[in-house]
Amino acid sequence: MMARFGAIVSSLWRRAGGRFSLVVLGLWVLVSLVSLVWTPQPLWRTDGYDVWAAPSAEHWLGTDGTGADIVSWLMAGSRTDLLIVILTVLFAGALGLLLIAAMTARNSVLANTSVVAVDALISVPTILIALILAVPLGASVAVIVVACGFGYGLNLARVARPQALLVARSAYVESAVSNGASGVRVLFGHIVPNILPVLLVQLSLSAGTAVLAESGLTYLGVGVPSGTPSWGHSLATTVRFITVYPLTVLWPGLVVTVVVVALNLFGDALRDAVDPVGNPALRRVAVEETEA
């Protein structure tokens, strides 16, 4: 098991995109953890005489319009965005797999109905879902997670369906079914491993889009509630002053851009690294394990 994990990590590290994404995502997780116990300035320390301050030794990236330390808020915000990304990917992945199972079911009524339902629901914009959800829930992380997870889950199912159908109708699945394999076993034993490359790329794109959506929905007032640090919150509170204090918008914008690029590259690199068909190192490990 450890040998396989090592082969995957070393494959990721060999690619420039994989290296970049590992470093960025590793830093993201590290900063999120560190921010739980330490930030350069206390989060709620504001100084009315020190608003829109330029970068300095005291405030590494300057301060915003309330005098709050930008780098401290970005560090604390990384936690919220990490939580949003993880929950959105889990929600989208679970919904996507559920829909894939329905769309590839042997029961043709269930399969056809779910295909039509996905095609109909996928036309509903994520923002509209978020606005509707915000009515009962108010601005909250749950609105972002559910709205984005719903939209991305539908998209995932639609994109992965052709590949999943090929697997579901394959001779090896027929062999498994004739030996008594259940639908769940076929889904997780054969379909998921064979559509994993598509899933990983789609989910990494969803993760990146969730970061962007958090910024957009928070700017619209239906995302992260006021007072909760997030990268979207940092952007929303400074973007109106972009022509006067461009640096205060640049920092959160840069963080969001770098993380989204890293997530996209990570999906591509991970797809190649975890797939034994495309990664000879993984296949070598399997042979060595057998010989041992």
Partner: protein, 285 residues
Amino acid sequence: MKNGLTGTAQRTEAPTGEGAEAPGAPMLRGAHIDKSFGRGAARRQVLFDVSVDVREGECLAVIGGSGSGKSTLTRILLGLETADAGTVAYRGAAVTGGRRAPGRQALRRGSGLVFQDPFSSLDPRWTVARSVAEPLRLRHRGMPADEVGRRVAQALRTVGLEPATFLGRYPVDLSGGQAQRVAIARAIVNEPKVVLADEPMSAIDVAARVQILDAFAAIRDRRPDMALIMVSHDLGVVQHIADRVVVLHDGRVVEQGPTGRLLAAPSDPYTRELIRAATPFVGRP
């Protein structure tokens, strides 16, 4: 010269003599099977009142041209497709009549499948060990890992593959012949009573076909009670391995009988045409 097919090594003479029926009680019996595909104007009947028996320990070859209904018939016999009319019985218990048919589960448990394309019949993301072990894990949930490993290794050896070399490989690292032998090992690892091989040699090169034939011969030597249903275009292969032959033409059985007799003295014009067409390609040293 009887028919030009007698030059190849053969295992086809019925033990009870030329022209006699193969031994063993009927294990699988299909009677008056009709099957259509499509609806309305596109509806096309592919099988017409087909009756066929498969006996314990025999190798039954189903031959015929493309679209003659060979694969459909064998899939119906193994309960993988449903017939529109007619019955299929396994050891006397009905296989047709829905999922709860008494013979259906017994047949599923007692059958193995070998498909035409070896690469599409193996999960590309599973190792050989995992693929071959799958029927054991599905049919014998509590079987200890050691026992699973032992039986997987034994199945691989039976088809001429060294377990130490092949267990950890993925299909992408196998040749066509090796992949097909892995698929055969998967089909026999559960020690089934009947194996369906649907044109198992049509997608692999000629040299590898010999290995496949050897693998089937080894299996039949080891499991003399196991029935083998082989769908094939290749009369050379049929002559080499089959005890009995069923000839299908446009969804109807035009002739059936022991391999030696049927190939030496075909009574139906279509069978004669098939043999005449195959003659230039078989029987050469």
